[in-house]
């Protein structure tokens, strides 16, 4: 493996001795670069929140949401199975959610007991797909 152009070790600079799990940065491996990070809310009993990202391609992103109003923050993964049932809601939770993205928007599809639920999203410049 060629030496990286730049590498920073965890405690000392070790650019001449690259070990993948050791350094906290290595220019051979892109890091996710945040294009937008912002908070939002959804209110009601369900629907689809559309979040424009203005990147022109499908970006990587992380979306976290409350599963009870004012409660803890959870990663939104794909809770909605092909059979049409929500699969990951815990006892006591009042919101299920799933998320997907295209070249224009990120979508947060949710179903809940009536309330206001906060979410927080990180959208990265790094694409999932350029088309």
């Amino acid at each position: 493996m060629a030496l990286p152009l730049f590498q920073a070790g965890q405690t000392v600079f070790q650019a001449t001795n690259p070990v993948l799990e050791g350094p906290f940065f290595n220019s051979e491996y892109p890091v996710l670069k945040t294009a937008t990070q912002k908070a939002g809310v959804v209110t009601g009993t369900g629907g689809t929140e559309t979040i424009p990202h203005k990147l022109g391609y499908t970006p990587q992103y992380l979306l976290m949401i409350e599963r009870i109003p004012g409660g803890r923050m959870n990663l939104v993964n794909n809770d909605y199975d092909p059979g049409g049932t929500w699969v990951s809601k815990d006892t006591g939770d009042s919101l299920d959610a799933t998320t997907y993205a295209d070249t224009t928007n990120i979508y947060l599809q949710w179903s809940a007991t009536s309330g206001t639920y906060h979410y927080y999203i990180y959208i990265y410049y790094d694409p999932v797909s350029l088309i």
Binding site: E28, L32, Q37, Y120
Partner: protein
């Protein structure tokens, strides 16, 4: 303007778009504050995260969770296709909570948690 910018091979750094950079100090990058591992020996596992805010976190679970062939790390929230076991995870200002849909029995599932320094609120 000062800072560090590194482009992908073959792309001039002066004109590179953000997606063509491997790093830029202009943009926030997710920072792993701590990595935590252990076994899911109780139905709810409570793990102090040591952050000052409610952090972004990624939780992965690896079987057995009742299916001998399932030895992959799965991102939570997740459910097993046949075993009917569901996992979710959430965070408050103090802890990460991993929740299993049923009480575990030995051998226990493993967890790996990445706690980021980046907040969710």
């Amino acid at each position: 303007m000062s800072g560090i910018k590194i482009s992908k091979p073959g792309i001039p750094v002066e004109t590179a778009q953000p997606k063509d950079l491997v790093f830029s100090s202009e943009f926030n990058a997710m920072k792993v504050a701590t990595e935590l591992t252990g076994n899911v020996s109780t139905q709810t596992v409570t793990i102090p995260h040591g952050q000052a805010t409610v952090p972004v976190h990624l939780v992965y679970i690896k079987g057995p969770y009742g299916i001998a062939s399932s030895q992959c790390w799965l991102l939570v929230p997740m459910g097993t296709p046949n075993g009917g076991i569901f996992y979710s995870a959430d965070a408050d200002q103090t802890n990460i909570y991993i929740r299993r849909s049923a009480a575990p029995t030995a051998p226990y599932d493993s967890y790996r948690v990445f706690v980021f320094a980046d907040p969710t609120r």
